[in-house]
Every structure is written in C-alpha cells, then in structure tokens.
C-alpha cells in the first residue's frame, strides 16, 4: 500500500480526534451489545444484582451451551430464517429487477405516480394490515407454511428494493441499451445480456439489504400467519426463551448472538460491496 495522500495525512491530534470520534460513535452503536453480551455471560441468578459491575463475577459461557438444550429447535429457527430469507430475497430480486429497470429507463404515462405508489406501501405498517392480510393468506391457503412468511415478507421489502436498484440503474449509460437496440436485440435480450450483468453490484446491495430485512425483522407475519413451530424463524424462536415467570435472559442473549452470527459473517465479507455499491458511480468500461 502506498502512503496516504498528503491531504489525508493526519496530525497526531487529528488522529486522536478521529479515533475518539469513532470510539464515541461505536460506543453508542455497540454499547447495547456489550450489555447484551455481559448478560449472556451471567448466571441467571446473578443477572439482577447491584451495584452495577461491568465485568460479571462468575461469568461463563454456560448459556451458550444451555440455550441449545432449553430451546431444542433453535438450530431449526436459524435454518428457517436463512431459508425464508433466501427465498424472499430471490423472489424480491425476480420482481424488483425488471421493475427497477422499467422505472430507471422508460418514461411512460403514470410512471411517476406509480413509483410514488410503490413507496407509499411503506407508509402503512404491517401491523395495521394484519387482519385483512390474514384473510388474504387464508384464502391463498398458505397459512402455516413457509409461504405464510415469504409472501407478505416479499411485499413489504419490494418498495425500498425498487427504490435502491432504480437509483443504481439510472447510472448505467443509456447508450448501452441503445447500442443493443440498434443491433436488433429485443428489450428482454438487452435486459438479460447487457443490463443484468452490469447492474450486478447494485443487485448485490439490494440482495444484501433485502436479506437482512427479511432475516432479522420478520416477526409479526411469522407469528400471526404460521402456527407450526418447525417453520418459525429466528425472531419468533427467540421468544421461546420467555417463560411465564422468567425470561431466561442469559440464554436469550446468547441465542441472539448465535442467531445473528451467520448474518454478520455474510456482511463482513460483503461490506466493501455494500458501501461502494450504494452509490457506485457510473459504470466504468
């Protein structure tokens, strides 16, 4: 690596300032996780003890072991989350890629309002629509299947995915489409052979955000539309650690950390893509 350019060379006090700033920022971001992690290390009986001690006495990783015992289905919940999220992501991409392309490239009557209408979907929260949705799911006959989570999950992830991908696709030079058009390629051929491969970084970003949205945040639909324990996703599964009398906090926290670990690993490897893909500049030839 070459040295940073002069303009990016920091004086010692600037470095201190930056690291201090990052420290403050990350403290805010991570403090709850530290708290959660400490909770996961404490034996249940010592969880509620004052005065506050940062480092737990008798801390142990026991909860990480016992969590598998007290909620035997937990591995299954992680799998379900992965499975549902992957399908949701695939379906969202299949629907959103063409739609985003249409919004990015073609001007036709009603395209503006339609885009706004897509965005408006997010203005109603899923909770409010629960009952009509339930009736709908029932009439489709998908209650108590994976589809009970997939079908509504997809719908509420479509708007932001369209928005993101459209922004990305608008940066692909229009001449690429035109060149293909001149060469006699059909619209569909152009989309498949030209646009899709070039938009791949943008599609990746959308895939990641959709996946996370689905992995971590799908709770209410799973809870209401699915009654089968074996299909429950992670967020619902975590509530299995809530007893009538006691929340098994240490195991709950341990399970949360275990549950998000796969997604964190995915993010870790894709983070570079995420940052650059969000506003990646014009396609370089």
């Amino acid at each position: 690596m070459s040295q940073p350019a002069l303009i990016n060379r920091y004086r010692w006090y600037e470095l201190v300032g930056i690291y201090a700033g990052i420290f403050v920022f990350l403290s805010f971001i991570l403090a709850p996780f530290v708290e959660g992690f400490l909770v996961s290390l404490k034996p249940l009986s010592l969880l509620f003890s004052s005065p506050y001690r940062f480092w737990p006495e008798n801390g142990s990783f026991a909860a990480y072991r016992t969590m598998w015992v007290s909620v035997p289905g937990f591995a299954r919940y992680i799998f379900n989350s992965f499975f549902v999220s992957i399908i949701v992501t695939a379906v969202v991409l299949a629907l959103v890629v063409p739609a985003a392309y249409a919004f990015a490239r073609f001007r036709f009557r009603g395209s503006g309002p339609l885009l706004a209408a897509f965005l408006a979907v997010n203005m109603f929260s899923g909770a409010v629509l629960l009952i009509p949705l339930f009736r709908l799911m029932r009439s489709f006959g998908v209650l108590n299947t994976y589809f009970a989570m997939i079908v509504p999950g997809v719908a509420f992830l479509i708007p932001s995915a369209i928005w993101l991908l459209r922004t990305y696709m608008m940066r692909i030079p229009r001449e690429l489409d035109e060149a293909a058009f001149v060469d006699g390629a059909s619209h569909f051929y152009t989309l498949r052979r030209v646009i899709l491969p070039i938009a791949m970084p943008g599609i990746t970003v959308v895939a990641i955000t959709t996946f996370i949205g689905s992995y971590a945040q799908q709770f209410i639909f799973a809870l209401t539309f699915n009654s089968k324990t074996e299909y429950m996703p992670l967020p619902v599964g975590l509530f299995a650690y809530f007893g009538r009398q006691e929340v098994v906090w240490n195991e709950l926290m341990a399970a949360s950390f275990v549950g998000i670990a796969p997604a964190v690993v995915v993010i870790f490897f894709l983070q570079r893509y995420l940052v650059s893909g969000l506003t990646a500049g014009a396609v370089k030839q």
């Binding site: 709850p32 965005l119 479509i158 992670l234 967020p235």
Partner: protein, 294 residues
Amino acid sequence: MSVRRSTVIFAWILLLPALLYVSVIVAYPLVDTFILSFTDASLKKTTKWVGTVNYDKIFNSTFAEVIVRTFVWTFFSVSIKMIIGTFGAVMLNAAVPGRALFRVLTMPPWIVPMAIGIFMWGWMYNGQFGMISGVLQNMGLVDGPIAFLAHGSTAFWATIITDVWIGVPLVTLYLLASIQAIPQDLYEAAWTDGAGRFYRFRRITLPLLVPAMITMSMLSLIATFNSFDIIWILTQGGPNGDTTTMIIDTYRTAIGSKKYGEGAARAVVICIFLSIFCLLYFRVTHRLASGESR
C-alpha cells in the same frame, strides 16, 4: 409509433409482476382497511356502515396531543439519526487504519432482530441493574438509581435514542457512500486554498451531502413515523401515555381493543399525514437539487 408503443408495453410487462404482487398483497388489504374505517368493525360478527363516525372520534382532545407528540418524536428521532449518521459517516470516511473493521462494526443494530436490540436497550435503561444508571452511579455522577423508562421525559428520549440506534447504521452507510461519491478534486482545491479539515467539512462535504440527507431522512421519516416495536416493547406508550404515538394509539385501538373500524380510520389518518409530508419533502428536494449539478 410502433417502436414507442412496444417500448411502453415492454415497460408495463416488466412492472406487471411487482405491481400485481404488491397490489394483491398490499393494495388489497389497504383498500380493505380504507373500507373498514367507515364501519364499526370489531370482534362482533356483523359490521355496520357508520359513515365518518370513526374519523370524528379521532379528533377528540387526547388525539391532538398524540399527533403533536408523534411529530415531535419523529422530528427528534430523524434529526438525531441524521446528525449521528453524518457524524459516523464522516468518521468512518477518514483514511485511518482499521476503518474496514469500524465499518463492519457499524452494522449490528441493523442485523440484529429488532426486538432483541430493544431488549438490550431495555437492559441499558434499567435503573437498578442497567449499564447507564450503573455506570453513572459508579462514577458518582448520580446518587441513586435512575429508571430511565419511568419518567415521561426520560422515557420519551430513551425511546427516541433506541429508534435512532436502530436507524443509524443504514443512514451512516448511505451517507458514507454519498461522501465517497463527492469528487476528491473539490477537497484538493479547497486544501490548496488553505481550507482546513473542518472548514472543508463545513463548506464542501456538508452542503454536498444535503441531497443524500434529504433522501435518507425521507425514507427514515416514513419508518420512524410508523415505528412501533421500540415504544411497544420499552414502554407500551407509557408512562402516563408520554410515549404514545399515533401508531401505538392505532395499535391499541385496533389490536388491543379490537375496534378494527376505529383503528383503520387512524391508520388512514397516518397515511394521509405521511403522504402530505412526503409531498412537501419532494418539493423541497426538487428545489434543493436544481441548479447544483456540476
């Protein structure tokens, strides 16, 4: 003509799957909700058309308070998100060793199931056993425990901060990406003219970030306005209703008290408010974006 028409047809073909999907899964329930808002739907088997009664009920005295509170809550949450997000984006943009790791460390609040994140904050806010109160006590800054969720004012801010925490990663990442899209030569030019780091930030980064901030704050506005889980899990709208926002109130009415008709009317009101907001926002965005292309 034919070329043009085939293009338009193709555009519609591309849109159709997503459009159909969303209309069936979302638009249908939406319309259902809208119709419901004019009925007295509840657990009762029969529903009656009641005209605008549900809407009349909304605008009683306490709901006005809820509306104001919702706006204040949303305003502070979105603004703080933007401020912290901008701060984080700027810090993470600095070319210092370890920044790749720092960027990854920004993301957990986004990845963790929301309820879990909120539980962790619940722990933090706990007066007896929580980190904040504990650390403050250990440092001798306060005498006794402080239960942050117990008092109207602190609970109000506590819920805001949790909402900020959940929203900040995406804002930070988006703004970070936008900062990186600002041409380097602008900074070099400013530096050549003697502008220091902070001056460059204030006069170049910040103004050029405005369009991205507007986009992000609008998306964040919609999410925040509808932010439900955080308040519900932390305070259920209490104490004394000091954290009851429109969505909490709607949920209480619709799901809690099973007054589906009234709840639907409230949902429609929320949507109308948001639409007005977004329209205004689009206006502002448009004005700010014009005349600034390079």
